[in-house]
């Protein structure tokens, strides 16, 4: 029988330098929940010098599952968290995180591990092979130049040499050493990823990627090509009956329980979404291509697809978006250029967001005559065929082979702009929308401030859609269709206020010109940081299923959030954790992360958006999402939905907002550094000591 409740009980520590393995007992870190919480705590304890670069052998990388991985918690079980010092952000590669789905975290749990810690640097190219409790570092010389699919197929064949079709494979010598019909779950880098590190993602199966941070490059810098894991054990559940009951209860909030009466809902939601719809366009494939919905382990949402051409398998959203609009512009419809472009990044292990921003920018430079054959930025890429599959493949190829403009782009988008002398000019005009920390704008900081502020106070594009579906997409889409959103702005504010424990602020989602600088918005951003740190990144609740604020099937459109999450956590782990208690663990994790950034050099003085955010409104074609940006506002004592597109941020008001935010967090308003009092309340006295020693402890008010 599996032991423990939710936890496998051990974490695998791999010293790549010496080739030695150690076991860390999870028990010591359980107060951090799992995933990101344990990852941050391990990093804090094990990374001796946190000011090093991400490619330094001293960098510590954690790959963490959650206690809910490999369980029936819906749209939770398949997520996996990767952390360490990143190499993508500019000018500092912050301690950062990325996250991917699929089956890796599940197999890790079934193999008996809650996570993996990678330390040091291997003297030769290796891959890590985990089969239940048996762990080996194997030679990767022959895998090093292979793409992500080739690598995985080679590893599958090597781990299960006797596997026939879908048959059972016995792992090990004894008949009781475990059997499985499943393939090993492999997390891999693209070919020679150390050469395009800041652009390099980690890829698992066909379409799961940990894209942000450049962790593909960090792996490669450690001479590590891939990690493979296969397990035949199980995850013990504290209260199996409660878990089954909770799962079936959640069906009533999802398409799963409504095949006979699917919701008619204009807009985007999370848990209540129909598989593939209304996000079907995100599986951009040419007309006539057939597909199935496809989901990570345990998902009720199944947001991706697999096609009858095999193109675009398991990809969605920005995996397609980086090129689909260019395909449509060139051909009037989706052709196979979009899925070819998608497969190009998945097979090469290149970060989709980075190439999306780069492509929009390069097109501008080409149109302005700055880039092209014999131009200031010389390039032989076939720009006359921009929008074709050929261009997309040539572009990705130039990055991974460091040829043509790939010679600079392989170092990152901001770094290439710097090398070409365009960083300042193009991030001032906004044609290169690197919103904060040299990272591509995703949602607009000027309009949807919780996204922008969250990214700025943190270290990366947050990529958390908790608010986004409801405060931006739904009213915007409803507006485009000329219908009233199903939920009024006032009701929306009520739902958010009710669920945003402990603040419960009725003005939480006021995106008016005043609201975005208010104390309410400071609490909203703090709530979001704490919620996602614990529930999403530590426990694994998927960004596309959770938070469940507005749900087309819920009573008066109210989703499961603040009730649902802990039903699953408590059924799996046991105990009776309240939603508020989970939020406190999130606050604790967030403070630890903040402390690590401070040790790396963070100060409020450098927490500023790129120039264009203070000087220009969103320009159509320059950013990813330039729809009307209709949002809930409270003006003249009334809630309404209103387009706030074109807004620019006021420099001083943004600074004043930061002060409000630091007050809400209990941090020194002058520096943005946590105080001893705040840290000790979170049982982080050792972190306060470390900050004090570095001369970076916030002064108490």
């Amino acid at each position: 029988m599996a032991s423990g409740n939710g936890y496998s009980g051990k974490i695998l520590k791999v010293d790549l330098t010496t080739g030695k393995f150690e076991t860390i007992l999870t028990e010591k870190y359980k107060s951090w929940g799992g995933g990101h919480g344990i990852g941050s705590a391990l990093f804090f304890d094990l990374c001796e010098d946190k000011t090093i670069k991400g490619t330094d052998p001293g960098n510590v990388v954690t790959i963490m599952a959650s206690p809910l991985s490999g369980t029936l918690a819906p749209s939770v079980a398949g997520r996996c968290e990767v952390q360490g010092i990143g190499i993508q952000a500019y000018p500092i590669g912050w301690f950062t995180r990325s996250n991917f789905g699929g089956r890796f975290s599940t197999q890790l749990k079934f193999a008996g591990w809650d996570g993996i810690v990678l330390m040091g640097k291997s003297p030769k190219q290796v891959w890590l092979n985990i089969i239940n409790g048996e762990v080996k570092l194997q030679d990767a010389t022959d895998l090093w130049g292979l793409n992500t699919r080739e690598t995985q197929e080679e590893i599958w064949a090597s781990v299960e040499p006797s596997k026939k079709d879908n048959d059972w494979t016995n792992l090990g010598q004894s008949r009781d050493s475990g059997r499985t019909t499943q393939r090993p779950a492999v997390l891999t880098t693209g070919p020679n990823a150390e050469r395009f590190g800041p652009m390099a993602a980690l890829i698992h199966d066909a379409g799961n990627g940990a894209g942000q941070g450049g962790f593909g490059g960090v792996f490669a810098s450690k001479n590590l090509k891939a990690v493979s894991v296969l397990g035949t054990g199980g995850v013990a559940i504290a209260d199996p009956k409660a878990l089954m009951a909770a799962r079936l209860w959640s069906n009533s909030y999802s398409f799963a329980g409504h095949h006979d009466d699917p919701a008619e809902y204009v807009g985007l939601t999370s848990f209540g979404s129909t598989p593939g719809k209304p996000l079907a366009p995100m599986q951009d494939t040419p007309e006539g291509v057939k597909s199935r919905p496809q989901g990570c382990v345990g998902c009720i949402r199944s947001c991706r697809g697999r096609t009858d051409t095999g193109q675009g398998n398991e990809s969605q959203c920005v995996d397609f978006f980086w090129y689909d609009a260019h395909d449509v512009k060139a051909h009037g419809k989706i052709t196979d250029a979009a899925p070819r472009a998608t497969d190009a990044i998945q097979l090469s292990g290149v970060n989709a967001f980075a190439v999306e921003a780069a492509t929009l920018w390069l097109e501008q430079l080409y149109n302005k005559g700055i880039l092209g054959k014999g131009k200031a930025i010389d390039s032989n890429l076939p720009f006359d065929k921009f929008g074709s599959g050929e261009w997309a493949e040539a572009f990705i190829n130039c990055i991974i082979t460091q040829t043509d403009i790939g010679k600079e782009l392989c170092k990152g988008v901001a770094q290439a702009a710097l090398a070409w002398g365009r960083l300042e000019i193009d991030t001032t005009s906004g044609i290169l929308p690197l919103q904060e920390w040299g990272l591509p704008q995703h949602y607009d900081a000027r309009t949807e401030v919780e996204w922008g502020y969250g990214s700025l106070m943190g270290e990366r594009d947050i990529n958390e859609h908790d608010f986004n579906w409801h405060v931006y997409w739904t009213p915007t889409i409803a507006g485009l269709f000329g219908v009233e959103p199903a939920v009024s702005a006032q009701r929306l504010a009520e739902i958010f206020a009710k669920k945003m424990i402990p603040y419960n602020d009725p003005m939480a989602i006021n995106y008016s010109d005043e609201g975005i600088y208010s104390e309410s918005m400071a609490k909203t951003v703090a709530w979001h940081r704490h919620y996602t740190r614990f529930y999403k990144q530590a426990m694994g609740f998927c960004d596309w299923g959770w938070a469940d604020f507005v749900n087309p099937y819920g009573p008066e459109h109210e989703g499961m959030t603040s009730v649902g999450e802990n039903k699953f956590i408590n059924a799996v782990i046991g105990g009776n954790m309240t939603f508020a208690e989970g939020m406190e663990v999130g606050r604790r994790i967030w403070n630890l992360d903040r402390a690590i950034w401070i040790l790396q050099g963070r100060h409020r003085d450098i927490e500023k958006f790129t120039e264009y955010n203070y000087t220009t409104g969103a320009q159509p074609g320059m950013t990813t999402y330039e729809a009307p940006y209709t949002m809930p506002v409270f003006e003249n004592n009334e809630w309404s939905y209103k387009s706030v597109a074109g807004r620019i941020l006021d420099r001083q008001k943004s600074e004043d907002w930061k002060t409000l935010f630091f007050k809400v967090e209990g941090w020194d308003v002058k520096s943005g550094w946590p105080t001893r009092e705040t840290l000790e309340k979170l049982d982080l006295a050792n972190v306060a000591d470390a900050l004090e020693k570095a001369g970076k402890l916030g002064a108490s008010a």
């Binding site: 029988m1 599996a2 199980g234």
Partner: protein, 246 residues
């Protein structure tokens, strides 16, 4: 309890060499004579007709699966092991989903569920009557206490992967019992109750039926899509696409 750490078939072979035979080995060896010699009472659920033909009671129900609807989430596998064993463990699931992430729809996914065969080779192969037909429901299932661990049922199932599986944690064979015996679930299972895999499948890719389904080489012929909400989802047909919003 017998020692199930060792496969008795292998042990029987070595015992033969030594010229000794235990009761368990006798039973094991008896099974080797083949299914034609089935005895009432030894093979549960089978009964002897006057003309010596063995007739086996049909199952009261069957699991239909439509692999084209399946999203590969493996929730059914986790629900199966959770309700039967109190843990989520794919290796103990009586329904197996296998897939190739790089494969082409619809051949990228297979669902292997027990067919509750009219003439179940697994039941026939069992030397002790552990694998039997449940009298009340017709379900082909294992009495774990009687299982000696010879794995003949596992090897006898004509399908790949075998629908009978070796529970290497508890050391007995097991197979789909249509959730008749689910100690870790509040619901009643079995043909007249609910099935865990069917209940959790968010795609509706698994459906219970009381009618004996039409079979082909590949499995039951099941289309659980046509005439359902699936028709409007855009799957199994191109999703309408034309770039993203905005």
């Amino acid at each position: 309890m017998v020692d199930k750490n060792i496969n008795p078939t292998e042990e029987a072979a070595s015992a033969d060499q030594k010229g000794t035979l235990s009761r368990r080995q006798f039973l094991t060896g008896f099974g080797l004579l083949g299914g034609g010699l089935a005895l009432g009472g030894l093979v549960g659920g089978a009964f002897l007709l006057p003309d010596q033909v063995v007739a086996i009671q049909a199952s009261d129900g069957y699991l239909l699966v439509d692999t084209k609807k399946c999203a590969g989430c493996t929730s059914c596998m986790m629900a199966c092991s959770l309700t039967h064993h109190g843990e989520t463990n794919m290796s103990l699931s009586r329904i197996q989903i296998t897939q190739d992430p790089f494969g082409k729809f619809p051949d990228d996914i297979s669902i292997a569920q027990c067919r509750q065969c009219p003439y179940p080779s697994c039941v026939e192969a069992c030397p002790t009557g552990a694998m039997h037909v449940d009298k009340a429901t017709g379900v082909r299932t294992v009495d774990a206490d009687k299982c000696v661990g010879c794995e003949r049922c596992v090897n006898a199932c004509p399908f790949t992967p075998s629908r009978t599986l070796w529970n290497f944690e508890e050391k007995h064979s097991q197979k789909c019992d249509l959730c008749k015996d689910t100690p870790f679930w509040d619901e009643d299972g079995g043909p007249d109750g609910k099935r865990a895999c069917e209940e959790v499948c968010s795609m509706g890719a698994i459906k219970f039926t009381k009618e004996l389904p039409v079979q082909s080489e590949d499995g039951y012929e099941a289309d659980l899509r046509t005439g359902t909400v699936w028709d409007t989802l855009g799957f199994d047909g191109a999703p309408k696409s034309g770039g993203h919003l905005g």
